[in-house]
């Protein structure tokens, strides 16, 4: 036990180890942030496309694309998608791997986010739309002023879930040779360095845990504020 504590302290006090862990951590954060932003934007766009009720050809084609996108992304493993991005789509010499990873994870996340948003919008009682329309609001005004504000409340918890899952899932980027937090833990624990896996991996776990905990806390606060009108 005392050896474990000594090794943990060593990681935090030895400059090379700490730098190694921090640069890995930075990479994890950069990919997570970039991918979640991209995922949110994509998710909203795809969800809106999916809920488009027009029957014209201009609506049908994007709707079909959105459907295929969600089906394919949710039906194939993330690791495979990452490989395809890195070794097929962006297999260009000198193309920054970070960007590749952000795009791969963003596209993946977008599919899940869009489904969450779609479910959130559909969960708002149809009577709300009817009431809005009966007051002479246009369908887009009804959507913006009445349905979406209520949908957000329903969607926030599941979007939070998706972001948490995304942060942890970025740990597979070492498969395309990137240096993230998980990879850093492997490196610091290797025979050339600390020659112990438990300590650096525990430290990495603590890093992940603290980010996820902060995120959860933030989401809870937002939720609480949005639930203000639910009090009876």
């Amino acid at each position: 036990m005392s050896k474990f504590i000594r090794l943990v302290i060593e990681i935090f006090t030895t400059e090379t180890y700490l730098d190694s862990m921090l640069s890995g951590f930075e990479m994890t954060i950069v990919i997570s942030l970039g991918a979640s932003l991209l995922g949110l934007v994509l998710g909203v766009l795809v969800a809106i496309t999916g809920l488009w009720s027009s029957k014209s050809i201009f609506a049908k084609i994007p709707k079909a694309i959105a459907k295929v996108y969600v089906t394919v992304i949710r039906g194939t493993p993330m690791a495979l998608q990452l490989y395809i991005m890195a070794f097929v789509v962006f297999a260009i010499r000198g193309f920054p791997l970070t960007v590749t990873a952000i795009i791969a994870f963003g596209i993946n996340s977008g599919a899940y986010v869009s489904e969450n948003i779609r479910a959130g919008i559909l969960s708002v009682d149809i009577g709300q739309t009817e009431a809005g329309r009966s007051l002479g609001l246009t369908s887009s005004a009804t959507m913006r002023k009445i349905v979406i504000p209520q949908a957000i409340k329903n969607v926030i918890p599941s979007i939070g879930n998706e972001l948490i899952a995304l942060i942890k899932e970025t740990s597979i980027v070492s498969m395309i040779g990137m240096y993230d937090l998980t990879c850093a833990a492997r490196n610091v624990g290797s025979g050339n360095n600390l020659a112990n896996n438990l300590a650096p991996m525990t430290v990495a776990a603590l890093f992940y845990l603290s980010v996820v905990y902060l995120l959860t806390f933030g989401i809870k606060r937002i939720e609480r504020r949005l639930r203000e009108s639910d009090k009876r």
Binding site: E130, A131, S134, L137, P149
Partner: protein, 298 residues
């Protein structure tokens, strides 16, 4: 004011309305009664296009708000290919053919350019924008449908301000007046979830009034209420009737129908089975169906 012409509504293979017509005149109080599943609510919802009728037209103040129904225009039928080919192949008169087309729903999508352009022409000449039309028709729902994320005041001012009918100050001033009238001005800044069912429904009524509609449609406004709260909602509606508001009310409250209605419409099986003054309907019902219905509910 509102003219509903021969409305049909199908939900898949279920035929809910089978040709219902109604002329709503200014200041009239129309009460629609009937057993559940008779299409009363669907009919009301077709009037302000919350449901789009499968066939039939709805006119508001001389403007068409539904798509054109070819079966309602004899000149349209007569330009159709179906009509022309039937005229050639059978020896029937024009009237017989028109009757047959109407009866058997024979018009198809491909009826030729002349037919299409005639429909377009009718549409162009008569159609009015239905969002504007809806603003003239206030609607009150069985489930209140207040917006839970907005306060009572915001519920009432959102639509008039957004639609540019009133300024924000004017809208809140009017809203307060209306709330005062129903004795709920102290609830202006509450969220709907804190209110009782009766309060919610009274606010839903004045929310619709904020748009200054010409006619109010009520879709079973008291059916979701506890019995003790029915009275307060009916009182607001009676007040409204006394002021001369044009009203179309779907309800199971026979007492209200008799007291307020000046035209009672009894619907059964997607059709208007009987129609008349309260006296005619309640004292001298003609059809056996209405008699048995009244025997059950009165």
């Amino acid at each position: 004011m509102i003219s509903v012409k021969n409305i049909y509504k199908d939900f898949g293979s279920l035929h809910v309305l089978k040709g219902v017509s109604l002329e709503v005149e200014k200041g009239g109080k129309y009460v629609i009664i009937g057993p559940s599943g008779s299409g009363k609510s669907t009919f009301l919802r077709c009037m302000n296009l919350i449901e789009t009728p499968t066939y039939g037209e709805v006119w508001l103040d001389g403007g068409l708000i539904t798509p054109v129904d070819p079966y309602l225009h004899i000149d349209v039928i007569m330009t159709s290919r179906t009509f022309k080919s039937m005229k050639q192949s059978t020896g029937k008169t024009d009237d017989e053919i028109i009757m047959e087309i109407k009866k058997k729903d024979l018009l198809k999508k491909r009826e030729g350019a002349e037919y299409k352009s005639l429909i377009k022409k009718i549409e162009k000449e008569n159609t009015i924008e239905f969002n504007a039309a809806r603003q003239k028709m206030g609607m009150v729902f069985q489930q209140f449908n207040l917006f839970p994320h907005l306060t009572v005041m915001q519920n009432m001012t959102l639509a008039p301000v957004y639609n540019g009918i009133k300024t924000k100050e004017q809208a809140s001033e009017d809203a307060l007046k209306l709330l005062n009238r129903i004795g709920l001005s102290d609830k202006a800044d509450e969220y709907p979830n804190k209110l009782s069912g009766g309060q919610k429904q009274r606010i839903a009524i004045v929310r619709a009034l904020c748009m200054e509609p010409e006619v109010m449609l009520f879709d079973e406004p008291t059916s979701a209420l506890d019995p003790e709260m029915v009275g307060e909602v009916l009182d607001v509606m009676k007040d409204l009737a006394r002021e001369g508001m044009t009203m179309v009310v779907v309800t199971h409250e026979m007492g209200f129908a008799r007291e307020v209605g000046d035209r009672i419409i009894f619907m059964d099986g997607g059709l208007i089975a009987e129609e008349g003054t309260p006296e005619e309907i309640f004292e001298h019902p003609k059809s056996p169906r209405l008699q048995s219905f009244l025997a059950k509910v009165l």
